[in-house]
Each structure stands twice: as structure tokens, then as C-alpha cells.
Symmetry: C2
DNA sequence: ACAAACAATAACCGTGTGGTTATGGTCTCG
DNA sequence: CGAGACCATAACCACACGGTTATTGTTTGT
């Protein structure tokens, strides 16, 4: 619980990692090679960052032959959203109203 | 812009800092002394963490005599919320609907 | 079968950062 | 005035972390 908040926050605190996540979100699946080309860091570093994002479940990689394809898992942002909902009361009021509305919409 | 996202994420990535912010959010204004008592970290460290939170505008301190009273500024979570809205498309759809609803509610 | 491509790991390095104790600067109060 | 409370800063230390190059293990194409 608290653990995942910790891991997600830490994972997204690094700009390079955020950049990778943002790119995977915008452009979809990418191989390590592709991410290395675009980025300004070496391939091993990309792999390391991907490992960190994977630990936070922010990213999922599937090996396909000799290349690994990574894609973003936006659901993994849930701990972040929950945290804001808990401790950012200003935003919580908005979220609460959202919950109500969504509930009513589903009926 | 990007800068504030960076600073806010980094500030909240540390568990001690998150703890301080959470406490200030729950229990309201506190002096450095009070925060030191509760925490298991030394007073200078509390001051340092408060300085970091202050740089992120997550916290505001006002000197009152010889003690400084700190309180949380939840509005400073905005960059975080915006970022999630931007890159967490899953959550963005919810947020968009929220925006619409709130707009209609205000009329 | 072999060379090259792709990704992960290892080994290493500099620095950023969380932590400490010690010190200094104000303010309060007897 | 002087002692002590409160906070910030300094000086310092250990280590986690972002970065690199070198290496290894698979897989692919010819």
C-alpha cells in the first residue's frame, strides 16, 4: 500500500524516467533500442530506468525475439491518484464529486 | 512549468517529507518543534525537509516570535494533478468528464 | 555456422542527498 | 541582563543513485 506509493513517487521523480513513461504513453509500445535512439542516455541506462519503472509497475515489457517491447501501464498511477485524493483535500473535494457523478452516470 | 513538476515530484518522493506534508494537511499548522517531537528525525533535518517542501511551494512558513509555524498548501499539488491529467490518459478521461460536470454545475 | 543486432548485467565513478552533531542568531522571560 | 527556547545553517559522513564503458547472453539474417 504505502509501499507502492513510495515506489511510484520515486520512479516518477526522475526526469529521464518520466520522459520514458511519457513517450510510451503518447506513442505506445517501444523497444529499448528505439528509446535509446531518441534519448540522450546510453542503452544500459535506458534498461536500468525501465527496470525501475517496471518495479513500480508503471511499465510492462514483453520479450519478442531479441528485442523487448515496453509499454506504459497507466493503471499503475492509481497509488498516486489515491494519495492526492487522501492528502490533497482541495482536490479531494473535486474527486468526491467526480465519484458521485460517475456513480450516478452508471445507473 | 516542467520545472515545478520536477520539484514537486522530487519533494514528495521522500517518505519523511511526505509524512510532514501529510501531517500538516491532517492536523493543520505546526511549529518546527512540534514536528521534531513527533518525528524520529532531528530538528535540523526537519528544517531541511521543510525548506525542500517550501521550494516546491507545498508548504508555507510564517515566523511568529521565535517559532516558525508551517502549514500545507494543497494548491501546490496542481502540477502533479496536471501531469496525471496529461500523461495518465486513463485518468484523464475521468478528469475531463469532471471538468465538464463542474462547469455545468457552476451555471 | 558466423557475424551482427539487441538487451541485460557487471564494474566502476562522481555527486546528490538524507542523516548526524555542532554552532550561531533571535526572541522570550525571570 | 542573562539563561534558555526555538529555528536555521554549517560541517561533515555514508550511501544511494544517475551516469558511463565493457561484457555476456540470445536471437536474427546471410
Amino acid at each position: 500500500m504505502q509501499r507502492s506509493v513510495e515506489i511510484v513517487f520515486k520512479a516518477l521523480a526522475d526526469p529521464t524516467r518520466r520522459g520514458i513513461f511519457e513517450r510510451l504513453t503518447r506513442d505506445g509500445e517501444h523497444t529499448v533500442h528505439a528509446l535509446t535512439q531518441a534519448g540522450r542516455v546510453s542503452q544500459p541506462m535506458v534498461s536500468k530506468h525501465l527496470a525501475a519503472l517496471k518495479r513500480a509497475r508503471l511499465v510492462r515489457g514483453c520479450r519478442r525475439g531479441r528485442e523487448t517491447h515496453y509499454s506504459a501501464r497507466q493503471e499503475a498511477l492509481a497509488p498516486l491518484v489515491d494519495w492526492v485524493g487522501h492528502y490533497g483535500v482541495f482536490w479531494q473535494s473535486k474527486m468526491d464529486r467526480l465519484e458521485d457523478v460517475l456513480e450516478r452516470m452508471d445507473k
